[in-house]
């Protein structure tokens, strides 16, 4: 598996702009973002999201919640 450090750093750096959204990032570049994971996956052809990082950026309220 490739190193995702660059992608994860990009998401962390841009988190305030992406709260409450799923994001798809590769090589430090945003491919797509959407609040709905299915919409995100449908926006991007399957060949384009291979090796991309897909992660969720919690809203401020969600980020404050503890999880069980």
């Amino acid at each position: 598996m490739r190193d995702i450090s660059l992608d994860r750093d990009w998401v962390n750096d841009h988190a305030d702009e992406l709260r409450g959204q799923w994001v798809m990032v590769r090589e430090g570049n945003l491919i797509a973002a959407d609040a709905d994971i299915r919409n995100l996956l449908n926006k991007v052809p399957r060949e384009a999201y291979l090796e991309a990082l897909v992660t969720y950026v919690p809203s401020e309220e969600e980020a404050r919640q503890a999880v069980l």
Partner: protein, 144 residues
């Protein structure tokens, strides 16, 4: 108390992945041999009996979700249903085949609808140690 010494094949710094959500996360790729999903960040959860993923990943893998063996999963917040499918899990340099549960819902963090690596499918394949202060996960494969 008798001191114990364990050795691990690798350590993974999960700090980057936990900057926005408290948890121990690792990057994972699911694939069926024919179809591969993107890299996703999955929570390590020894409380979970199974590895559980949102249904959208079953669909992304072109799996016939209902064709898998059904499984009811109880949580503190209630019960949900899932179906088991055999997939290949790629985690860093490791790759193994496991039966995982795809839930009836899509992944919706931070609700209980999360993607997790649990006992069956992950902890039965690895010796794992967490140094949360250093934000490091140590793994030793136990494939057999």
């Amino acid at each position: 108390m008798t001191p114990q010494t364990l050795s691990f094949a690798l350590s993974f710094d999960y700090g980057r992945l936990a900057r926005l959500s408290r948890g121990v996360f690792v990057p994972v790729i699911l694939n069926t041999g024919m179809v591969s999903a993107p890299i996703i960040e999955v929570r390590i959860d020894s409380r979970s009996s199974f590895c559980v993923f949102g249904r959208q990943w079953a669909d992304a893998l072109s799996l016939d979700w209902e064709a898998g063996d059904p499984l009811a999963i109880s949580t503190a917040a209630g019960r949900f249903f899932a179906h088991l499918h055999q997939v290949t899990i790629q985690l860093l340099d490791f790759e193994w085949v496991a039966w995982v549960a795809f839930a009836e819902w899509d992944t919706m963090p931070p609700s209980p609808a999360r993607d997790v690596l649990g006992l069956n499918g992950f902890f039965d394949h690895f010796l794992a140690a967490i140094d949360d202060r250093a934000e490091k996960l140590y793994l030793e494969p136990r494939f057999s």
